[in-house]
Symmetry: D2
Subunit: 330 residues, 4 copies
Amino acid sequence: MGIIGMGRIGNVHYQNLLTFDDVSVKTICDILVDEGWKEKYPAVSTLVKDYHQVLTDPEIDAVLICTPTDLHPQITIDAARAGKDIFCEKPVGFKNEDILEAYRVVNQTGVKFEVGFNRRFDKHFDRIVEYRDENRIGDPQLLKITSRDPEPPSLDYVEHSGGIFMDMTIHDFDMARFITGQEVAEVHVFGDVLIDDRIRKFKDIDTAVISLKFANGMLGVIDNSRKAVYGYDQRIELFGSKGVSRAENVLNSETTFVGKEGASADTPMYFFLQRYKEAYARELRSFFGAVRGEHPVACSFDDGIRAIRLAEAAKRSLLSGQVEKVAEIK
Amino acid sequence: MGIIGMGRIGNVHYQNLLTFDDVSVKTICDILVDEGWKEKYPAVSTLVKDYHQVLTDPEIDAVLICTPTDLHPQITIDAARAGKDIFCEKPVGFKNEDILEAYRVVNQTGVKFEVGFNRRFDKHFDRIVEYRDENRIGDPQLLKITSRDPEPPSLDYVEHSGGIFMDMTIHDFDMARFITGQEVAEVHVFGDVLIDDRIRKFKDIDTAVISLKFANGMLGVIDNSRKAVYGYDQRIELFGSKGVSRAENVLNSETTFVGKEGASADTPMYFFLQRYKEAYARELRSFFGAVRGEHPVACSFDDGIRAIRLAEAAKRSLLSGQVEKVAEIK
Amino acid sequence: MGIIGMGRIGNVHYQNLLTFDDVSVKTICDILVDEGWKEKYPAVSTLVKDYHQVLTDPEIDAVLICTPTDLHPQITIDAARAGKDIFCEKPVGFKNEDILEAYRVVNQTGVKFEVGFNRRFDKHFDRIVEYRDENRIGDPQLLKITSRDPEPPSLDYVEHSGGIFMDMTIHDFDMARFITGQEVAEVHVFGDVLIDDRIRKFKDIDTAVISLKFANGMLGVIDNSRKAVYGYDQRIELFGSKGVSRAENVLNSETTFVGKEGASADTPMYFFLQRYKEAYARELRSFFGAVRGEHPVACSFDDGIRAIRLAEAAKRSLLSGQVEKVAEIK
Amino acid sequence: MGIIGMGRIGNVHYQNLLTFDDVSVKTICDILVDEGWKEKYPAVSTLVKDYHQVLTDPEIDAVLICTPTDLHPQITIDAARAGKDIFCEKPVGFKNEDILEAYRVVNQTGVKFEVGFNRRFDKHFDRIVEYRDENRIGDPQLLKITSRDPEPPSLDYVEHSGGIFMDMTIHDFDMARFITGQEVAEVHVFGDVLIDDRIRKFKDIDTAVISLKFANGMLGVIDNSRKAVYGYDQRIELFGSKGVSRAENVLNSETTFVGKEGASADTPMYFFLQRYKEAYARELRSFFGAVRGEHPVACSFDDGIRAIRLAEAAKRSLLSGQVEKVAEIK
């Protein structure tokens, strides 16, 4: 297989692939490839700058698309036409027409396509779904997602991020659908800039409370902050007629200290690379399982589009100050 | 002092007063008083059916009003005119004009008046305020209140309760103000009947997500359910620029069991009588401290009115489906 | 009823008795009784200095013995002969012959006699016994008791305390029997002075690891310290063939804070008056239930003697440096 | 480098080595090597049955010895003479004379030698050492180690295991030294067969309480069981003059469920392969750091011998029923 785009997340996937017995990375493609990369990636036989070289290689069955978001749709289209199975980082794209074109081509060609919503593969969140599927929670009535980053991205990044809903909350929107198994019908947002005034110039916010009304009547709420000084805060709670399941933060250690001034415990793991380390590996394992036909793709193109639609509804609600119906988006 | 209204909550206060060295209950007033009550309340010297008998007794300095809500304003007015200090259960009344009239009389007469928002005296929630006051939380940015009852009240009760926001959420609205020290500016509600369809006929709901925008820009959310099968779920979280403080549920015991099928722990305390047992005692202690002039009243008539106003805003938002500004209420 | 000895623990019992509907304290007896006490104890009709005045009062059915330990046996004997039911603080006495004489008289007269091992009434520890009785733990195999005081007693107190095993560990020895339902057969002690060298002159220690072998083969260990700077550390764990049950410390609040430097939680409740507040009330309720014949006494004279025997075995093991068999004591 | 012995633990190390950029496994040596292994270990260039072929290969700088324990000393001697740096699984051997001979040769040749006490590299336990080193615990006074396996090994394994102290408690003995930074002076054991009577024929036990007296006066206790039905129970607590640090179990997930019957949480991770997965990787990373001279070896031959000496003292105490002084061993 081949990896297209070798930034931070491309490297995460590469490290995980090294430990898979049954998958080998033949080619890495990145516009920054140079001589030094041979030493850095000794297990890889080919290093290229142009992704078409990956797509024309008949020995490559599947590709990982880890480039900047705006390139996702075109590479997806080219890869699908080349008959490669595709794992694409989230979101699937920015512009609606590009995304829909890619969606059409993927469906026509029939290649496998998976979106990289890594949190679906987190064992802690997965446990909530298990409790739900075992009917221990009963009828779900309330969903609560807390999702706070340890620090805001750079202003440069913010400028091209598509805004907090498309960049950050999109994961929570996907989780809202994944954890409940339900579609969101209405969205309401209270949001503000409480951390760093400079992002106002991008018309973005850094703190939000996003209320959800699901199609089946159940309710939900997501709270987001770009800066939790104590680390990555990732908690989910699903409450229903028979009980509640809560996934708590994963701490840096299970070791506590109790002294005269009280007890202390470790902080949550710092950020997504630490917190979702295992999830990234499980995600790829699942993708290759789907490629081999062992099970359907865990997170489809359609899932990717639906999360974007929720992000869009949130954006509109923030502007209008009112409730937005998801069905009216696109 | 005297207690007017000897239902469930009146009895809670009576039990606590027995352990106070410096306060004695002279009279209990209740329309159901009969011969048998002498044995039930041996420490009390007078049992009457008409509350005016309490108010004309010069030996009585202060009264506890624990009657049904609709009687609160009139008894408050009469007690204030009789020069008694007043502790009144929440809410201070139902009808706006009655409440405002009582408010005026209390202010004119200058008697001490405290509203019984017992949760302000819970040591767990109080600890959050301590963290806030020590500036450990920094600038508060997000408030989260989970408040779920173990079971819905009877339909009879629901009919006269004033609706979920006036009966149940009113405590959470008071907490929202108490914990943050800020006023709420805007309210948005998603709510539905997810537990028992029969309450639809009272135009009431049983499940709600109430989003808050505070005057200073910070955000908040309250989630309510009338039925958490595992017991009374009472949690508060205040997140700010320097950290987060969370008050967790108080469990029936700190004892766990771990067996082949996993770990188990005890449920949260069943309901408010158990959960806020200590808070009820602290509340009265504080009231008598205020009566003796040691400190101001902890929860004023104004606090009572502001909570009602938030309940009213929530009611309107549920009906309108849109955001309601609190300043426009009344 | 009457209370003999009105020190710290006598006052704890007095406060609890005030809230009992069906028990009234007629007389308080203490050598320090003076005029001022009338105001302090308004609910009590008689204040005396000589305990015989309590015992000759035909209106008094039961007595609480809360005097210094060395007086326990004689008062017990006199109270039993006067036909009063007896609740006696632990330990039942210091000198073997005195204790045995009191034991004989109590048995002859047939009065009810309960020893004040308050921890038997702690709801957290009680839960372990419930798990055991429900056979969820299976065959008990290992018992672990952690019992650490927040600060050492005064040297004066230490001098007359009977040593750490008789004063402090005696509670743990009673718990070892209560939690397992088994008798201890052998005891081994490692102990030392690690906190304050001055107690060496009383041949006492302040830190100990006490290993237990039970008659049925199961094992146990108690660890004691006279000084845990973070508060009263009271934990018990019972491990068996089907699982483990652990009672954790009760904290001053369930509220945590998480900031940049990590998480913090509250300390355990400070000492026995706080930690076992509820247990003291339940203990008395149980005693009066036994007095009224509703159930057997919860903690018998025999239980009191057996705990002393274990303390004696521990003392000998510390001296001999070897294992001591409990059967050989006395 | 080369791996000698490719059983369960050899494979764990192999998987970890695959992710190291700067270390490559040239040769795997195992008596069971056959044609099929080439596919199983594609990253390895040489597969041999005789470990001498590993030792004579000049391209190999270091070896991992993962064979059965009785072969450790001879391979260690041969590897040291061949000038290879050595990582050897615990224990370093069974017979005293063999171990001492290997110790001498290693010292003479000056090769690096590390014993595989993997728990030293567990981040949770390590955190206790950090608290100790920051002087937050003050003077250590009490150490408590709980160490229980999820299920007993096969009887075959028990027969050749060297007994519970040499096979299982040896890790805890090493931890006792590592966590406190102190040497153990005296050992006392209460032990019994409480799980499976069949191991009596090997004169072994399955449940033990091992009390420790350290050279500096501090006390400790280890409790062991061969069968905790709920999974691998691995907890350590270090108590001192300024506070206590506790490392709790790592659970399969941080997700809980609370329903009518109470709360439930996940079990601890099943066994050492899961619980110490990260520690195994950190252990090897540390070894190769020592090989490259970046820091001293983290766990020396001397550490290996001292742990064995404690296991020997425990064995004697179980037989004698009395306290054994460690200084008298060997």
